[in-house]
Symmetry: C2
Subunit: 120 residues, 2 copies
């Protein structure tokens, strides 16, 4: 059993839109990601997804509204809800979601989809 | 759908050892708690439990070691592992665990057990 220091883990990678797994419990994964720019519109059919801002801010776009999230704020996106994160500047985010969750959900994208998510 | 600001939620309560629910996803709860002093030794038969330090520090005691956790660090305590959080000073903690999780696990305690956990 080891503790995890989030800042140390964030220093291990620089890619955007490429979540890294840092913990697993009860069939769920804890992931860290850095966002910058516009992601793709997508939804997850079976998985709710939590986004917690560690440092910075981004906009979570939905079809009917946009929610701005700043450091210390989180949102839970329910399954089957189309969403698109957009980050004007780089932001560090913690994700909590089922181990089965693919980052682009129902939308396979040559640039963004990461079939194999890495542990760090 | 609403975003949650963690500091705003932390300002809503002051009791120690009384986790408050601030989110639910995939059968799991996100909870906030304030610890101060010594909790009771206990374990959870079926639930892994994540403790993430938001502000402050505490010691997670296990039967064979103690792990000190500071702001920005987390630990996942596997099911069936006896543990006891001890906080010399007040510390704010985020918990991720199944919705079924009772705070004192297998140990019913008149002082510490909270059968009914409140949403804030």
């Amino acid at each position: 059993m080891e503790k995890i220091n989030i800042n140390e883990k964030l220093n291990l990678f620089s890619e955007h839109w490429s979540p890294k797994i840092v913990g697993a419990l009860n069939g769920q994964h804890v992931k860290l990601a850095k966002f910058q720019g516009e992601f793709v519109w997508h939804k997850h059919e079976h998985e709710d997804e939590l986004f917690y801002v560690l440092d910075g801010e981004f906009n979570m776009e939905f079809r009917d509204q946009t929610i701005n999230l700043k450091t210390g704020e989180f949102i839970i996106v329910p399954k089957n809800t189309e969403h698109r994160p957009v980050a004007p500047k780089e932001v560090s985010v913690l994700l909590f979601e089922p181990a089965s969750t693919l980052n682009t959900g129902n939308k396979k994208d040559d640039t963004f989809t990461k079939e194999k998510q890495e542990w760090i």
